[in-house]
Symmetry: C2
Subunit: 558 residues, 2 copies
Amino acid sequence: MSYKSDIEIAREANKKPIQEIGAKLGIASEDLLPYGHDKAKVSQNFINSVQDRVDGKLILVTAINPTPAGEGKTTTTVGLGDGLNRIGKNAMICIREASLGPNFGMKGGAAGGGYAQVVPMEEMNLHFTGDFHAITSAHSLLSAMIDNHIYWGNELEIDERRVAWRRVVDMNDRALRDIVVSLGGVSNGFPRQTGFDITVASEVMAILCLANDLEDLQKRLGDIIVAYTRERKPIYCRDIGADGAMTVLLKDAMQPNLVQTLENNPAFVHGGPFANIAHGCNSVIATKTALKLCDYVVTEAGFGADLGAEKFMNIKCRKAGIAPSAVVIVATVRAMKMNGGVEKADLGAENVEAVVNGCANLGRHIENVKSFGVPVVVAINHFVTDTDAEVQAVKDYCAEHGVEAVLSRHWELGSEGSEDLARKVVEVADAGTANFAPIYPDDMPLFEKIETIAKRIYRADEVLADAKIRNQLKDWEAAGYGNLPVCMAKTQYSFSTDPALRGAPVGHSVPVREVRLSAGAGFIVVVCGEIMTMPGLPRKPAAESICLNAEGQIEGLF
Amino acid sequence: MSYKSDIEIAREANKKPIQEIGAKLGIASEDLLPYGHDKAKVSQNFINSVQDRVDGKLILVTAINPTPAGEGKTTTTVGLGDGLNRIGKNAMICIREASLGPNFGMKGGAAGGGYAQVVPMEEMNLHFTGDFHAITSAHSLLSAMIDNHIYWGNELEIDERRVAWRRVVDMNDRALRDIVVSLGGVSNGFPRQTGFDITVASEVMAILCLANDLEDLQKRLGDIIVAYTRERKPIYCRDIGADGAMTVLLKDAMQPNLVQTLENNPAFVHGGPFANIAHGCNSVIATKTALKLCDYVVTEAGFGADLGAEKFMNIKCRKAGIAPSAVVIVATVRAMKMNGGVEKADLGAENVEAVVNGCANLGRHIENVKSFGVPVVVAINHFVTDTDAEVQAVKDYCAEHGVEAVLSRHWELGSEGSEDLARKVVEVADAGTANFAPIYPDDMPLFEKIETIAKRIYRADEVLADAKIRNQLKDWEAAGYGNLPVCMAKTQYSFSTDPALRGAPVGHSVPVREVRLSAGAGFIVVVCGEIMTMPGLPRKPAAESICLNAEGQIEGLF
């Protein structure tokens, strides 16, 4: 049997006008700002008008540690949303926007896959509604204004060696990682060394995704620390006078984007911060608006549950005042096998023993998520090569650990394949057993927050950090930043900081290489290991194969 | 009497849904890709469907050399378009898009002024429909792919010292003018010196504005020379393999943007290349599409007629196969006074003598435009302080030079004030006296093309260029580029290369500092004097005052 590719399925989508999708949510067409016929932003007026409504139930979709086998977190998010609609529930999904740059390196990210996709796929992988361009512009304006301030006399006494604000571009451009600017003499300013990150790594992105409204957005933008004086006094974005104009540039980008699934169910696709140096979730404004419009809102978090779900709970939920009613952990038989020691080339053969061995990774994620006080459902995202015995092995493992694993075939069948999962999720969410709480309080010292995550989530023995880092954390506590959550930046491939250590390792150490204050976003970034904030292109970039075909369709992007 | 500001008038605009504006042009709503409720792109299908229609008449609006007094070229373009509609003609306008970056430096550019404006003004000065962001992305992709090619082994043997392709950003960021990239060791590539220009200076912008369709766009993108080998062999964008993906990124940006005037008449606002190192006109695709939809299409060219109209005729019309039926030269009494030696502070006082003296500048533009074989109308864009005697002086001068000058009060009165101008333009255009031809043939040697413009348009005695420049031009002729038009980059404030030399100077020399080949756009840039392709921000940038007010409106941008 042969299967259609994601892009073939997406092109056959029977899309409805976006006004019809909005109508399902009770949004009048004048409250939708259309971008073409299949995308729209929801007006700020409409968002304001629904604030008094009761919230629906929030379902988080997370996953085991990612493997090259693929887990299908977004696919399952879409499939679950469609499944909920199929069984008669009023439901929608909230996912992140794709970054443009990386699509020209490796083959681009579809939004879901198979018969569980969000469309229009092409545009979501290109400019979409321009949100990331707006973020790049706002970031670039601040960058230019900082050097301009220094150029015109540096009244704020910025130490040019201590400019913390780098530049960004939404492109994989390694040549810009480390640069010297302002060469060429007096009229170009004072030379200094700096660099570019990719737009999704911008603090502006994290801020847009955590801000409650435009006022909060401007306040947070103003709080960004852009530089320090010789005496280490922080200089804020507000001091540079950029926060107002940045807010103007981000005005439309703050409005959630409405699109649809292949089954014409509504989806908000909005924001996309890095899941390492930022919190990796779609925007708070999209999630909170969706909760006012639907009984069930399915959303996802970046990477595996050790990073994504942890940050979703400890950062996004804490700051936004929201809480999940249930968490779905996505696992695949293939990924279990890889965690059980099988190489990618050998995934085709049945291997129940490897599946069982690999389940240790899943088991730990189940325990971890439960520790936040929320009930768990495991979704086995079905691959057509999975055998019944392998699937049963995962189900048995989960049953032994007190959670139900539901096989879901949304990739192959759409919502027809995810009905069981949808019913189970409703049952668990409606049972009202959730009693969510972050795993550390606001007033815990910063280093203890890091230790709490490392020991309780990663199951490390210890956190290694030299005196400089510990002192830096104490200085920030003294400066009033001690109440912030911490945002861990480590490899997504392992509970440990060693990407090769699959399964459920114990006895490891978590070395902290660096800590950074994102004062606008409102968290302390804890860098454990090498974190790349500007990817490069591969030897043969996908871009070389991307083109328009004779029918005007895009080839090579997917 | 007090007058409302442009932004006050724009906010009071009684905008119609863009679908209604499209309907006036016979564009069905499914052929409009809306961006919000007041902007839309015209579908490629629709554009293809009208290709067999007969063209309407093209009216070019140009101006005397700009002075700090302001001429109101766009205002007159809008006023004339509205005037034509008012007298019952089927007419529309085509103008350029604004660049985002400069709006944060000086106060932003409105689209017209007074009661002759295009709306939505705010969005046209911000992200609009994302065209410039798409151009920045396409440009950035090529930039990244060039350094990536070198990084992975440099199979094409690019000489790193001879990479001609710079980077761009749509922001006034002087610190990026001159930079060193790829510092930081092996994983970041080979350090080299380069820099950023502002997006409007990108060759991609010029290409988008000159391309006839997507196929032509990709061909031209492929033709861009990005670097040379040690042996001076050109390396093309096509060799890097970026042209297909760049076309994909520019697919939507190629579609003209439909908006409306304050009087609900249709306007295409599309493309915005620099008027010095590029040709300074809105896109060919917008102009040619408009000509299929209306009996009269009013468009404008950048700067004064010596630069803007010259390039419109010799580059845009030549390449696009279009021709103006009439040219309107905009003059103001105040600008005449400044050309006649009056300082800006003294413009308020009546000074007929200065007006008469300043008219020499206007007179030469009239002669020049006529030399292209097209009839001329002078529009006196009325300022409320102009006296009758001053206006009469301009009229008398024009009459002596065989053209009619029409007073137009569109700024104050909208189309009610531009009826006379509209009637005169129709009379002249309908008379069929136009017999347009560029002032030099394709096969003239490149240096002679430069001399032709310098002597016939600037009235210089000679063109100064050292042997290196002359040899470079000969090399390009040998390489097959001799048939390209030349694109002059000189000051817009004078016919000469000295910005202080107002009026109608004679006997000057035109020194050529540098020549550049824009092989994709299809012209040779001739740089005469200092040309800034990356502006800086002023000591107190407008951005510091830009913010959202309590009503959510944008303050400080205008």
